[in-house]
């Protein structure tokens, strides 16, 4: 980097050249990085005791929240929300706050390397892999393979890299890149979108205007935890409760355990797993009756009394809720999560969305609309469903993939083991990972060419839902790279140039920033933007300064579903795979998410409902446990048709007696010192069954439990003394 002009020199020149308008434009790529300087050689733009702030985008999940990073002497000190970004309006979740523990994690991949599959990154085949070698390897992989046998696996973020790879794949005739994330599997996103397509004729993500509703019915949607865009939905929830001084919104959650979201509900309905759709239909019918007039065809065939006897929700309860729905000014019903991860999940989603049709809230405040497309988006590209991933695994197994590029996703951990991704990887002759951290999938790759951490990176992320405006959040480096890493986009661009021919034509850009600008240039002159500029350099300077570009006014698409109630809705009986007597409910750990386990402060955040830290637990109703002779911290074995795991029990008073639940997020075998060897992965219990929309039926498993003789004391914040009279005798 030394031969290039540094940011410091550039600023000097800029001052001399009287180019010191408020916005600096035209920086070369390397000068866009901020160097970490010793205190002795302070860059002129930093003063002792004063911080420099950079607007960027959070990459801990795909929601695209804006961040402002406080830096001092080139070190990132603290992350705050970007107050002007409409997605999060200055707020962050715990994972966003802890993103610095990824940046400064002691277990990052520090340079490009070649190693034997399955071994630690310390053991290298070739000590001297340089970035030039890396680019050569990527170029050869692109050039020497048939395009149809090249595979790209991407994470849910960042979007600019997905666009770059999509463009590359399209022009060389390779299959489009697949995107996947465990969050999208556990929120059953494909099912939600399919239901929306069936109902509205458009495969878009619905937007639920919780903020303006006075009655919220949520069927398994954990919108205060990890669901879709949790910071935005938390803001909506707060407004629903406190936004209108004349009324306090009422919130009912249907779920078999009290999740963090259900803990905020005014009423928690622990229905029998798999009856969510039926309960929605029964409520619809009773509400239609309470309103008077004809019963819509959608609800005509359901017998509420039958539903009451099947679902463990009493007739009085159903009538009471139906009455609330009939009387509410703006009721809203949200389908999500465990209610959709079932063989009847698509029908359940449609039944719940039909409730919205009954109260006629489509496109209205406090109702359901379709999320606007982000700027520069042609249509909503949903992540791959588990079934699509399964098909891809099949292709890998049959030798249809000769080289696999992996970025931003850890499928060995995030996909259920029963899909056999790890085994299929052995059939791929060459695997190239761009992982920032040594995760399980990276360790099974031949090469790791590490990408920068998100706070060292350029990029952009589209806001998919949660906000009424159309938003493109922008990312820029807040610090210069800590290690010898390189932006994956730059590696691919350089490799394409080296490969020449159609590859070079596909990506005629000198670097990542030029590629991003080629996408931003279309936004110049777009109406209703909160800023605009006459040419691209100024535009992208503003884009950096503000942390993105978005529309000023709401662009929600009013969903038209006049026929939603015209045909009868059926919900089949749910099927459960396996022989055990307990329903099994895996849920995403609210504070860890799918990739937070290597951040020690996230590990030390108590789980909101159990207060357990640093480990995996099994939630079990105290009555059930007593019956089985199980006590707190007893290690039990959970056996499903797909596998078995052992974990300590947490006696959880707020779960159905016939259900056991486990958090997803721990159970890594790699991924650095804070994650590896800690807890177990409940995805190992999930069989490969899919619903109509292609989502895994992760909530449709039955498991057996077996006692072991072991005990493992869980670290929890709450005191054990006095909980279920425990410890009282001894103390």
């Amino acid at each position: 980097m030394s031969e290039n002009i540094s940011r410091r020199d550039f600023l000097k020149l800029a001052t001399v050249g009287a180019a010191t308008s408020a916005v600096l434009t035209g920086c070369g790529p390397s000068s866009r990085y901020i160097k970490r300087e010793p205190y002795m050689e302070m860059p002129e733009y930093t003063y002792n005791g004063l911080s420099t702030y950079y607007a960027t985008t959070c990459r801990e999940c795909a929601a695209g929240c804006g961040l402002v990073v406080r830096t001092m002497q080139g070190r990132a000190i603290k992350v705050e929300g970007n107050a002007s970004n409409p997605v999060n309006l200055g707020k962050t979740c715990a994972r966003g706050q802890a993103t610095l523990h990824g940046l400064y994690n002691p277990d990052r991949v520090e340079n490009p390397l070649k190693h034997a599959r399955g071994t630690s990154i310390e053991i290298r085949i070739d000590e001297s892999v340089t970035w030039d070698d890396a680019i050569q390897v990527v170029a050869d992989a692109l050039k020497n393979n048939d395009p149809s046998e090249i595979g790209f696996l991407m994470g849910m973020a960042p979007d600019h890299l997905f666009d770059l790879v999509s463009d590359l794949a399209a022009s060389i005739g390779a299959p489009a890149p697949l995107r996947y994330g465990a969050l999208s599997m556990f929120e059953a996103r494909a099912t939600l979108i399919k239901a929306s397509e069936n109902l509205f004729g458009q495969a878009a993500l619905p937007f639920f205007d919780i903020a303006n509703a006075d009655l919220v019915l949520s069927f398994g949607a954990n919108f205060l935890e990890t669901w879709l865009s949790p910071v935005a939905y938390t803001r909506g929830f707060a407004k629903m409760r406190r936004g209108n001084p004349k009324r306090r919104g009422h919130f009912i959650q249907f779920e078999s355990r009290i999740s963090q979201t259900a803990a905020k509900a005014d009423e928690w309905i622990p229905l029998l797993p798999g009856t969510e759709g039926l309960v929605a239909l029964a409520i619809g019918r009773l509400a239609a009756e309470a309103k008077g007039g004809a019963i819509p065809k959608a609800f005509a065939d359901v017998n509420p009394r039958e539903v009451a006897s099947m679902s463990d929700v009493s007739m009085e309860k159903l009538e009471h809720i139906a009455q609330l729905v009939a009387e509410a000014e703006s009721a809203i019903a949200i389908p999500g999560g465990s209610a959709l991860g079932l063989n009847n999940g698509l029908q359940a989603a449609q039944a719940v969305l039909a409730l919205n049709a009954l109260v006629d809230n489509f496109g209205k405040p406090g109702g359901v609309s379709l999320s606007p497309l982000a700027p520069n988006e042609d249509e909503y590209h949903r992540p791959a469903s588990a079934q699509e991933m399964n098909e891809f695994v099949g292709k890998m197994k049959s030798g249809g993939v000769k080289v696999l590029f992996v970025h931003g996703v850890n499928p060995i951990f995030e996909l259920p083991a029963s899909l056999g991704f790890a085994d299929a990887l052995a059939s791929v002759p060459q695997v190239i990972s761009f992982a920032t951290f040594p995760d399980e999938t990276a360790l099974q790759a031949d090469y790791i060419f590490p990408d920068h951490h998100g706070l060292e990176s350029w990029g952009y992320q589209r806001s998919a839902t949660g906000v009424s405006q159309s938003v493109l959040s922008g990312a820029q480096p807040a610090v210069s790279p800590n290690y010898d890493t390189r932006a994956t986009a730059d590696v691919l661009l350089a490799a394409a140039q080296m490969a020449g021919g159609k590859f070079a034509e596909a990506l005629p850009f000198k670097d990542e920033v030029e590629f991003i600008q080629s996408k931003l240039v279309n936004l110049i002159g777009e109406a209703d933007g909160f800023f605009s500029a006459p040419e691209i350099n100024t535009f992208s300077a503003y884009f950096q300064q503000h942390g993105g570009w978005w529309k000023k006014s709401s662009e929600l698409v009013a969903a038209s579903a006049s026929s939603a109630l015209d045909k009868s809705l059926q919900v089949e009986a749910a099927e459960f795979a396996g022989e055990g007597e307990y329903f099994f409910l895996p849920f995403v750990a609210p504070t860890l998410g799918e990739a937070g386990a290597n951040k020690p402060w996230l590990q030390e955040l108590p789980d909101p409902t159990t207060t357990v830290m640093w480990n995996t637990w099994v939630e079990m109703n105290p009555e059930t446990a007593h019956h089985e002779g199980i006590e707190n911290d007893d290690v039990i074995k959970i056996v499903s048709e797909a596998g078995e795991v052992e974990a300590p029990v947490y006696l959880y008073p707020a779960i159905r007696p016939d259900t056991v639940a486990m958090p997803f997020g721990q159970g890594h075998t790699a991924y650095g010192r804070y994650a590896a060897g800690r807890g177990v992965n409940p995805a190992n219990l999930l069989g490969s069954h899919f619903n109509e929309a292609g989502d895994l039926t992760f909530a449709g498993m039955k498991v057996k439990i077996e006692k072991t003789a072991r005990k493992q004391i869980l670290s929890r914040l709450e005191s054990r003394i006095g909980v279920y009279n425990e410890g009282l005798e001894e103390h």
């Binding site: 715990a94 706050q97 002691p106 205060l224 406190r242 030390e604 707020a654």
Partner: protein
Amino acid sequence: MGIDLNLVGAKGAIAEEAEGKWGMVIDQDICTGCQACVAACAMENNLPFVGEEDAAYGRTMHWIRVERFWEGAYPEIKATPFQPMLCQQCGHAPCEPVCPVFATPHSEAEQINLQVYNRCVGTRYCANNCPYQVRSFNWRDYHTQPFHANDVDGQLVFPFHNQFNPDVTVRRRGVMEKCTFCIQRIHTAQDKAKSEGREVEDGEFTTACAQACPANAITFGRMDDHESLVSQLAHQKHGVKHLEELNTLPRITYLKEG
């Protein structure tokens, strides 16, 4: 601002002082228990993490924690509203008089409870006497445990040290610590206002927990300014103070459901 209790009207003066200078309001009806405040506090104030074993012994260094309790039994069970618990910056703080080395004095200027790290000798009397259980003790030098370091050419390098907030002291073993109402932010805002020849405005800055809170459940500001948002919120009907009967004069008001 000492009050001479022998003067006529001392009772009124005490009531006024009970408001304090800085205060906080936490709305439990919208707190979702998401732990963003806990993480934000840790990142701002150089809090160390202690690991699984020490956490199990109750040695975590959270300056703020979110409490939840259960009411009833299945199926009629309810989680009580999430309750973020942090130092209440009491006007009559039980932790203060028990310190033998005056490491927990009351700030006259800011009217909050201070913790003077370089005076603290680690008797832990203050933590024993705190009815809110919000003080945490450094049982080890957590920041310099070799487990967190990488060996680079024979030297231990701690990448996490890059993240230290230079405005906040890094505490060592044997020292008590607790929430400071982000006093470094208070001072920064005051210095800035002073250099610009004005008063600190309401909402100009806030604590790390309040800044992060996605639900906006935490509000921080001047209690002695009756126009401020925090003061307006604190005087709503459903505001309560915890363990008020101990006459600790807590500076944090909790808003109940409803």
